[in-house]
Amino acid sequence: MIEGFTALYIFMLAAFTGYEIIARVPSILHTPLMSGSNFIHGIVLVGAMVALGQAHSPFGLAVGFIGVLLAAGNAAGGYVVTERMLEMFKSSKED
């Protein structure tokens, strides 16, 4: 179980990690990073899967279904777009 102060500690440390990672980023990478972090919050997919998995009522099934659908879109779309952007950085780097 993650509760109370343990949760707060995780929250605090993860927030610092996020700040530290972004703090000294060249502006050329702002868009790919925004896109990359957009992909990473696609992890909401696992939560949506759990929500749908535990659903019993028709309402729960419907909302859970929409949740998984949206989350899968977030993850898949976020990945493709980021990958395409970074692909270009690679090709220009090797010249």
Binding site: A7, T31, L33, S35, H41, G47, M49, G67, Y79, M88
Partner: protein
Amino acid sequence: MGNILAWPYLGTVINASYFVTAYLFIMGLKRMSSPKTARGGILWAGAGMLVATLFSFVNPAMGQHVPAVNYVLMIIAMAVGGGLAWYSGRRVAMTSMPQMIALYNGMGGGAAACIAAVELFGAEHHQRSVLALAVLGAIIGAVSFSGSLIAFGKLQGLIRKSLRSKVLQIVNLLIFIAVVAMAISVVVAGNSDNMPLLTAFFLAALVVGILTTLPIGGADMPVVISLYNALTGLAVAFEGFVLQNAAMIIAGTVVGAAGGMLTQLMAKSMNRPLTNVLFAGFGADEGAQAVGGEGGALKPIDVTDAAVMMAFANKVIIVPGYGMAVAQAQHKVWELVQMLMDRDVTVKFAIHPVAGRMPGHMNVLLAEAEVPYEKLMDRHETNNELDRADCVIVLGANDVVNPVARKDVASPIKGMPILDVDKAGTVMVIKRSLNPGFAGVDNELFYMDNTAMVFGDGKKTIQAITEAMKAS
């Protein structure tokens, strides 16, 4: 077949997989923050997502008996949602990337709100602290969902108007207060079976997202999308607490913090505090005042003159903007630049931090055309070199080169750091029409004595200049 969901060590295995995922995400993001390793970064993060998704099929948090229908629905939803997004992400032009990010981000926020809805409407009894986090995540997720969709609609050109009025802002504030009040009453009541209240709560939160985003002009959209990106991260983290899911807590929080930081950086490069972006409305209706006309008149020139001017310059600086993105002119521009370099003309690109619709938008497009990094200069470098440049080509950029930003007159872009292109020998502006930029401000630059206008579509004009130069 034994029931794997009843296996006592399953919880430990799932937690271990989420631990691996959290590690891969953080390392992936870290790699993405440096140009050399950026490409590998997304692969790390992608691997993390794959691990978490696969193990989540047997997450014991779903209970020991998950009906087959739930699994069928899960797989259909993943295939449809993931498939459509994958397809659209592959097909979309690089210039439409900003709105696609807005769209996918909105979907993530919507998913977080759906999780909250399942948890809140569900019969399961939650502690008050858990309820509080669930409603908080619900508000943020819902606002991010509807707000991002509006941002998508605006950038895609589906929504053209920027609705703006004091009344609207007050109405929005009242609805927001109502949302908070409903959220508090849900938490205080400690139960979650009040269907009408919860429905009103979710609908009102969606309306807040819409009304907050509608008044914001296109020039500010990058900042807004980045903000919603951070908010979705937070919503995911909060729902992660509700579901006791460490992967969601860590990934969501990291994105929330990183996204918040990015938003700050962007707002800073536009010299506008975030509150100003959100509540002042910019590029909407206040830009209609005329500033032009104090210097001479417009001097339109044709492409042959333009070609000659460039070919006999020593140093040419190109300032790309959204116009280049729309015209998809980046490849043609690079062709022209290579031709100029063959003639021993020094050519550099000047990238304003908010040129285009996202920070780094121009960098991405020029990288696509395989323009080497060394050719790109940031705002400071450019402003140090501009007085030594004899020819500046402004290609579809507008607000970021408008000298009015330096002046002490009331203007929506007052104080925004710009590229001082008016200090160069000659300025050539390639533009489709005289329409003002997204900020809605007339551009004095066009009327200056050392400015020449080449009217036309960016790509066709550049192509015509290249032809003219070949012929000479």
